[in-house]
């Protein structure tokens, strides 16, 4: 009994226990750091290095939010979550936000009561096969063995796709990308299906990437984005506009390198508004006027993030190019 009482006491003494007050932003500020849910490890998006530092596209987005709030990108703590624990971690307040390649769907938004801040990566489910199978279209996959990550929307899409095309398949459910890679390389499955970004990232790390092809079909829309709990508009606005700031920064040519130069003042009023030298957008979010400056300065703009983490693993901009370049990345105006 002794120990359990101690544990209860720990909880009661407030060492582990926190009672959430009205606003997430106030909680985060009072706590002094942001709690961000990420994957347990996905190349390019979030993975811990030898020193336990998390790096990746999603991890750096968390840093951007932390920088916007505190002016310090290191005031963030990462919580690795699995496909199963991610939503409960967010719903229970264990994390303040999720940046964990999560697909924006109707039920997650409406039924599970989360708010998606936007889309930071437009993805779609694709198929990868060995070249020597001689398959050129997903329509030829009747009877194939398909490796698939469980707990994601991909397994539902897969079931629908094969069913609607009247084909059969043998699903091999897998927990992590690392295992999927192992099984696929060994030939334990003919096809690996997941988001195209994941496919490209996985393919890039193969010994002989040219032996594998990604089939042309994209069988689903997978808009991935950061999300927070329903019902705290101030908080979800903050995440949304931090994302938009990174996107607009790229569009307007603000980079982590020239940002100090630009902050001295420019002729472009929108740049000035974003960087806080004109107007006071930050105060409307409950932040400093430097918020966006801090975020961009800390991690770079959207394009820089993309080039830093996703280009090396073999992803090109595609749908994720700026709208001016024919992509879908589009930020509402800062006005």
């Amino acid at each position: 009994m002794k120990k359990t009482i101690i544990l209860g006491a720990i909880a009661a003494a407030g060492l582990g226990a926190t009672v959430a007050s009205a606003g997430t932003l106030d909680d985060v500020k009072a706590r002094g750091y942001l709690q961000c849910g990420v994957t347990t490890g996905l190349v390019g998006f979030a993975a811990p290095d030898a020193n336990g530092e998390w790096h990746g596209f999603d991890a750096d987005f968390c840093r951007a939010v932390a920088a916007a709030i505190f002016g310090d990108p290191n005031k963030v703590k990462f919580t690795p979550t699995t496909g199963k624990t991610r939503f409960t971690a967010l719903a229970s307040g264990e994390v303040d936000m999720l940046a964990r390649n999560t697909t924006w769907t109707f039920t997650r938004d409406v039924d599970l009561k989360f708010t998606f801040a936007g889309v930071n990566y437009y993805d779609g489910q694709g198929f990868m096969v060995r070249k020597d199978l001689g398959v050129s279209s997903a329509k030829e996959l009747n009877g194939a063995t398909v490796c698939i990550q469980t707990g994601t929307t991909t397994e539902l899409n897969l079931a629908d796709y094969f069913r609607s095309n009247g084909m059969e398949y043998e699903p091999v459910p897998i927990e992590t990308n690392a295992e999927a890679r192992q099984q696929f390389l060994a030939g334990a499955c003919d096809v690996y299906t997941t988001d195209r970004s994941g496919l490209a990232a996985t393919r890039a790390t193969f010994e002989n990437p040219d032996d594998y092809v990604i089939l042309p079909e994209t069988i689903s829309k997978e808009p991935l984005g950061p999300l927070s709990r329903h019902g705290d508009e101030q908080w979800s606005d903050l995440i949304r506009w931090t994302l938009n700031a990174l996107i607009s920064a790229e569009e307007l040519g603000i980079t982590s390198a020239n940002i100090d130069e630009l902050r001295k003042g420019t002729n472009n009023p929108e740049i000035n508004r974003i960087l806080g030298t004109e107007g006071n957008l930050g105060a409307m979010l409950g932040l400093d006027k430097d918020w966006a400056y801090n975020a961009i300065k800390a991690v770079g703009n959207y394009g820089e993030l993309f080039d830093k983490y996703l280009k090396p693993i073999g992803l090109d901009r595609g749908l994720n190019a700026q709208w001016k370049n024919g992509g879908l990345i589009y930020s509402p105006p800062f006005r």
Binding site: G83, K84, F87, T88, A91, T107, D111, L112, K113, D132, L133, L141, N142, G143, A144, T145, T150, G151, E155, L156, L158, A159, D160, F162, R163, Y169, E170, P171, V172, P173, I174, E175, Q182, Q183, A186, G187, A188, C189, D190
Partner: protein, 421 residues
């Protein structure tokens, strides 16, 4: 408590303090206090839960079980497709759990028995090797064994494409060992009797093969007949002193009827064939199943081996000597003297190992074997977001399985105890 009642003492009137100081009432006081505490605790938890669910906007309900599951399951013992309900998916998972648990118990017992006996072998090398096996397996987490077995299966067996190129070939043209699993011939009845459909169209519907029932019936009939023959032989022996030789009749009685039924049903084996991406036809034992089955069996067998060894060693040497002195043969000594005594020691811990194996089968989730944890507690939970309901159901299912296994154990213990005197 009744003993504590004073018999002829002066009648005391009840005072509240007696609730604490009088042993007769103290028991009641304590129980009431404990009960009140537990009820308060449970009430508090339930209240919190309901409140939280209200905040989350997810009122408690099992309606999601009747929604279409919309995911596919590779290994299904009953017919299932992605349009079936979550409840049926859970049922498919449950059958998979039971399958791997049953297969695991059988294999673990066989290996355990084998290793346990060999550990007592006079052969130094073999005894050492078995010790290494037992100590090696039981001191490493079973989850690691499952992952390792899976990795070995995936990395060492040839892929199906190798069969097409002629780099690998099937064993006896019947069994194909690939890194997607093992394909074995499937029994097929060309004059099948068909199936009985149970539970109509509900989520729990399933088919019972009449062929299987017919074979079972023939087998049971043969065994019953064989028992009658044995009784007849016993009677003859008692009357005349000579025991008629009956083993050939009895063997025939057991073997012939099922074989006849098999023949009548047109029984034959259909070997797997390489078609398209995979082998088709035959029975496909998937990697996930084999990895889980082997790893659980090998791990549990290490414990069973120790139980068997302890059981055999628990029978005093004098028993063997006495049996030999009575003129029993070696086999008779083992069968009639040693085993009945050793089994009494072996079986209770053996059954609790079965229980452990069944519970450990929930680690299926690590290799993607679709047991009930993988379906109800995995994909269904993920896709519907109904954590509370799914996990509660999952626990209830496991509890039901465990309680039925342990009731078998209790029944056995009672039976053994009666004989003990």
């Amino acid at each position: 408590m009744a003993m504590a009642e004073p018999e002829g003492g002066p009648k005391e009137s009840f005072r509240p303090a007696m609730l604490i100081y009088d042993t007769r009432y103290r028991a009641i006081t304590i129980q009431v206090l404990v009960l009140a505490g537990v009820v308060a605790l449970i009430g508090w938890l339930v209240n919190n839960t309901l409140h939280n669910l209200e905040i989350l906007g997810k009122p408690l309900g099992f309606g999601f079980l009747t929604e279409p599951a919309s995911y596919d399951i590779n290994q299904r013992l009953i017919e299932y497709n992605s349009r079936d309900t979550h409840l049926r998916a859970a049922f498919v998972g449950l059958l998979n759990t039971l399958l791997v648990a049953a297969a695991g118990c059988v294999l673990a017992t066989l290996i355990g028995l084998f290793v346990g006996v060999l550990r007592l072998s006079k052969n130094w090398l073999v005894a050492r090797l078995m010790t290494v096996y037992v100590e090696g397996f039981r001191n490493v987490p079973v989850l690691l064994w499952i992952l390792l077995t899976m990795a070995i299966l995936i990395d060492t067996a040839p892929r199906p494409a190798a069969f097409r190129k002629g780099e690998a070939s099937m064993l006896f043209d019947a069994v194909a060992i690939t890194n997607r699993g093992i394909y074995i011939p499937e029994p097929v009845f060309s004059r099948s009797l068909g199936n009985i459909h149970l539970f109509g169209d509900s989520s729990l519907r399933f088919d019972v093969s009449l062929d299987l029932l017919a074979i079972l019936a023939a087998l049971v009939a043969g065994i019953v007949a064989s028992i009658f023959v044995r009784r007849w032989a016993d009677r003859v022996q008692e009357e005349t002193g000579d025991r008629p030789t009956t083993w050939h009749i009895r063997t025939a009685l057991v073997v012939v009827p099922p074989v006849l039924v098999l023949w009548a049903l047109g029984f034959h084996l259909v070997p797997p064939e390489l078609k398209g991406f995979n082998f088709k036809g035959g029975i496909h034992l998937r990697n996930s199943f084999i990895a889980l089955w082997l790893a659980l069996s090998l791990y549990t067998a290490a414990f069973i081996a120790e139980i068997v060894r302890a059981g055999i060693q628990s029978v005093p040497k004098g028993q063997t000597e006495a049996a030999l002195a009575l003129g029993f043969s070696g086999g008779q000594t083992m069968r009639l003297v040693i085993l009945p005594q050793a089994l009494r020691v072996i079986i209770p811990p053996l059954i609790s190992q079965y229980l452990n194996l069944t519970k450990n089968s929930s680690l299926a989730i690590a290799v993607g074997y679709m047991d009930i944890t993988g379906t109800l507690g995995g994909i269904t939970l993920n896709q519907t977001g109904r954590e509370l309901e799914s996990i509660m159901l999952l626990m209830l299912v496991y509890l039901a399985i465990s309680l039925s296994i342990s009731s078998v154990m209790n029944w056995y213990n009672k039976r053994v105890k009666l004989k003990e005197r």
